[in-house]
Subunit: 518 residues, 2 copies
């Protein structure tokens, strides 16, 4: 058995049985070994950012990592933005980067570069396996470290000769890492605070946005009369009718400040202390109000569900005291199509168990509101701010949950970073409906140009934010990649097209032509 075969068997034994890949020559033995290990599914992407984003989306839904196979430093570069998003969302990814043969590196061949230096941007665990008989053990460690807690991007660098050399054996999976124990003293202190007189809020993120954790959080805040807030861009929120609703902190610091106003205690549960997304001249970066103390109940290395359960008990919260979202569907819109109308339709027709990948940016602003009372579903956000995540994450989610409908809410500008996702959706016949909001603009930047005080922005500046010249024809682009597509210019057209899309299986693109909301 060669190194590649042992590596793939090790991954499969550890539960990692999908590999999103864009391989090159140095990874050919890994590719060849796919035929030796039938349990490993290889999913080809035409661009590395699709592969890394898909691994992120897969792990968010599967609750375990996928692997990614990339081609040397440039391949890692192409995949870096979505690994950044995974890192920021604490999503596990086993990131395998092929390298030249160990003895070939000294010659500085064309594709030679320092891979580890790039990987440091997204990984604290980086391992170059220089010996075939160490490769499988390194892979087993990579899976365990990636899975966490804390979940993370583990980068495993795989020289070609280490892959092709014979004499390897698979390694056994590591035991799952143990989360940090819940601190009983801390729980008691926080219970005192929550049951006291000072305004306090639970600020949930990461795994604390799953349904079971939100039940505990809602019991706590309902029992103590405190506030429940979620981070702005959670990795995955389980929401909708029959679940606990949670208000997310606004993207715009001006609104976020109002949500946090007057708090004396902010209790983080798998979230980080709220800060402004960007800096703006004369505005604060830190959104925590003056005089408010920040506490951490559980971090990415902890067990937020156990911690919330302990805290609920400590404050005397009873079963059934949680808030439950009732069914509430918007009416189907009529007339002119707008971002708001699109989101209403989605809210009205969202299937039970749907998974929404939200990179609607400005156009998607109304989506969360209009789907709040739709049947139970998952909502996944742009965790690291690096655009081009929405379509790959939808792709990966569809691989993880073939029986669930995936909806990608996708802004036009952001779609263009990883549009190649559609080809893989077609190839794998994945059940993803992409709704493209085509407003012909980097609309968020038009807003930001004003917010940063760049008032001198004249015609040349405005031109850099205008992506409508020429207009992008997403119907043609989708068909070019083998995905059937339609265009909607009225609410009625969109209603019909979206209803048809959710009633069938397989990838569909709907281009919604809408004015910018700004």
């Amino acid at each position: 058995m060669n190194g590649a075969q042992a590596l793939i068997r090790t991954l499969v034994q550890a539960g990692v049985d999908v590999c999103f890949m864009n391989p090159g020559t140095s990874e050919m033995h890994f590719v060849a070994a796919l035929d030796d290990v039938p349990e490993m599914r290889g999913v080809l992407a035409l661009f590395e950012g699709v592969a890394t984003g898909a691994a992120d989306g897969y792990a968010r839904i599967a609750n375990k990592p996928a692997s990614v196979l990339l081609h040397l430093g440039p391949g890692l570069g192409n995949g870096l933005a979505n690994l950044h998003n995974a890192r920021k969302g604490h999503v596990p990814v086993v990131n395998i980067v092929g390298d030249h043969a160990t003895y070939h590196k000294q010659y500085d061949a064309q594709l030679e570069s320092d891979i580890e230096t790039v990987a440091r941007n997204v990984s604290t665990w980086i391992r170059t396996s220089n010996k075939t008989d160490e490769l499988a053990a390194d892979a087993a460690e990579a899976v365990a470290v990636a899975a966490g807690p804390p979940a993370q991007v583990a980068t495993h660098i795989l020289p070609a000769d280490v892959s092709w050399t014979e004499g390897a054996e698979p390694a056994s999976p590591h035991a799952t890492l143990t989360p940090e124990a819940v601190d009983a003293d801390l729980v008691a202190r926080l219970a005192t605070i929550l049951t006291g007189d000072e305004p306090a809020a639970l600020f949930v993120g990461g795994r604390a946005c799953r349904a079971d954790a939100l039940v505990q959080a809602s019991r706590i805040t309902n029992t103590t009369g405190t506030k429940l807030l979620a981070e702005t861009f959670p990795t995955r929120v389980e929401r909708g009718a029959g679940r606990v609703p949670v208000e997310r902190l606004a993207y715009l610091a001006e609104f976020a400040t109002m949500q946090l106003d007057g708090l004396k205690h902010l209790i983080l549960v798998d979230s980080k202390s709220p800060v402004s997304f960007f800096a703006y001249p004369g505005k604060a970066s830190d959104l925590v109000p003056e005089g408010c103390t920040v506490h951490t109940l559980a971090g990415p290395a902890g067990d937020p569900l156990a911690a919330l359960t302990a805290l609920a008990e400590a404050v005397g919260a009873e079963a059934g005291s949680e808030t439950i979202q009732p069914v509430s569907l918007p009416d189907l819109p009529t007339g002119d199509l707008s971002a708001d109308a699109v989101c209403r339709t989605i809210g009205a027709l969202l299937p039970e168990g749907a998974i929404v990948s939200d990179e609607g940016n400005t156009s998607g602003l109304f989506a969360a509101g209009h789907t709040a009372g739709s049947p139970a579903h998952d909502w996944m956000c742009l965790t690291g701010g690096a655009i081009g995540q929405g379509l790959p994450v939808a792709l990966g989610a569809a691989v993880a949950a073939p029986d669930r409908k995936v909806i990608a809410l996708q802004a036009d500008g952001a779609a263009m970073y990883t549009l190649q996702s559609w080809w893989t959706m077609a190839r794998e016949n994945l059940d993803v409906v992409t709704v493209i909001f085509n407003n012909s603009s980097y609309a968020v930047l038009n807003m930001e140009l004003n917010r940063v005080g760049a008032t001198a922005g004249g015609p040349k500046a405005k031109e850099m934010l205008d992506i409508g010249s020429p207009n992008l024809d997403f119907v043609a682009l989708a068909r070019g990649m083998g995905v059937s597509a339609t265009r909607a210019t009225t609410a009625e057209e969109f209603n019909d097209q979206f209803a048809a899309a959710v009633s069938q299986r397989g990838p569909v693109v709907i281009e919604a032509v809408v004015p910018s909301i700004l």
Copy 2:
């Protein structure tokens, strides 16, 4: 004047008057400042790899750097592959990466990451300007360092507040860096070798592939009865009828070894000692024959033209002794379309002064041969092996030389990495004809799968190299980005479509449906 305004004025004063950009919020003041400095042309790309590759293509033709504007670490990641290619080709790029405001970095906001660690993959000169009054001086230094010699990618990191703060002044351009002096003793020694009995070759690359340098090189090798060879993937070769022809070292090590066989001396002129592109089990990485001594006449920091001129004089080469390529045009092909037929047509119809961006990969194998006697033109190769360079480099070349026809020879798989280039070509009405070789395959990998000895490659492995399921419709993809496009399935159709494309101005895509050559 704020930092951004001073920065842009500094760039313009130093001759850098084009910026290929994909900005975000942290770069809004740079964008706004474009209206204050009319000499700076902003060219918007929908993806960072387009912007960085365009800067590479621009510099190859303009002989001076363009600037690039990217958005934080993820933006740099997306642009990294084509910066890698620029680095390997010794092409100057002023790589400006926006960052969070200096005081905002401590908050680890969503887009926060370590930019410098990523930049180290492509730049030895990396500068974060932390003060507005140092920004312009840093920019002037960046331009000088980028221009070289040696030319390189200089990465200048620009925090948002440094950009927006008032009180900056433009900085004066630096003097051009002086190349390493020609070593007269070395020239004399090499002249003795070349005029001696042992088989020797000049191995030219980089700036030694320009017409004037090749004239000197040809005089030397003709006078001394030695061999003239060029590196496999030169940055820019000036070639065609009326110029000095030069044989390039083959990509396949098996053939390259035959070209180098028997040499006792290999003299590098702005090239590096030949090595195998990848390592293959049981095959040598170093292609220099046993017993052959490698000498360096001039490196990237030197002056190859001056060195060759001195060497020509030292060996007594006379003016007029160089080989000149006569006009020789292939016949227009008929019948079935093939990669060979496409290349024949291009050779027959290539306009005088054309610029060819060659990322045809396997399908482009015949292109150099069939265009050898076409009217004088420039030929630009994939310098660093990171695919997705061809279209952006064509884009940048067209910006640099608006009066010349640019031809992009583009493999299908590689096209998909930076296809967004077409949108910018349409937007700027650039005079680029893209010829897509659609063979529905990562054909080079099918070959490499066998070459690396990965003989176990079964159906799953083969599937990872097949990009024909679903088939990519490049006509639809081009039209989706505003570029007119046609498809050719016979030689006659291709002849007509290519003839029409070169006789008009503006971007055109021709999808040539061809079988894989392998």
